[in-house]
Amino acid sequence: MSFQTSKQNGVVVVDVDGQLIVGNRQELKQKVLDELEAGERKFLIDFANTGYIDSSGLGVLVSLSKKIREQGGELRLANLNEDLRTLFELTKLDTLFNIADSRDEALQSL
């Protein structure tokens, strides 16, 4: 599992490869916070290659969303598979996040 960060059209894109769970959530959090600290304000987390997310992973996304918003930034999520969509709907977090079907759609909305 790993988090690859890149920059596309002024947007920090993080690819979540594998799981986003209790054992690695801090790594994702730190990567995004470092970029926020460095002045970046537009973020996209892409789940195209993600297996599953647990409650700790969801918690980190909630926490990052709040911090980014507080700094006047924006966060988009993209490419959630059916399992992940179900998870977001179950927890009602689909109402909290801006979720795009694809990376392109997310990038265009930022």
Binding site: G23, Y52, S55, E82, L87
Partner: protein, 167 residues
Amino acid sequence: MRSRRESSPAARPNGRAAGRTGEPLAFVLELPSDLDVIEGAVAYLVDRCRGVDFDGSRLTLNFRVGMCEALANAVIYGNRQDPGKSVRVEVELSAERIVVAVRDEGVGFDPGEVPDPTLEENLERAGGRGVFLLHSLMDQVEYNERGNEVRFVLNRTNPPLRRASGE
């Protein structure tokens, strides 16, 4: 992670699973109180379930996430990540369901005290979704009296659709 006991003809080393022969398979894992072992433990257990033909995403979503929650709770809140304590996982696998008991060495907790994370006022809280997810994703969840063991059941098939009252 080590498997301490296997008790069924279906538990032979080829890993063919449980349930196909009609014979349930039971085994026990004992895990250290280390968050880094959770992903591997869940992957191992999923692999052991391969022979059970779970409906839809019952294995990839319900089992993986629910299992992860139970282990994380045991390591973090039960054993407080104390390396001197372990988490015991008992598994019973049959053709129709998987039954798992996860026990830690902690003082236990009261699951009734956990607030509903889907209420609007709780949506932006970073924590508090683990127990909710376990209950939402499993077909049956129960705790021992002390609160340091959770036992849950995931059936192979989706529950039948409930008929509207009056039908």
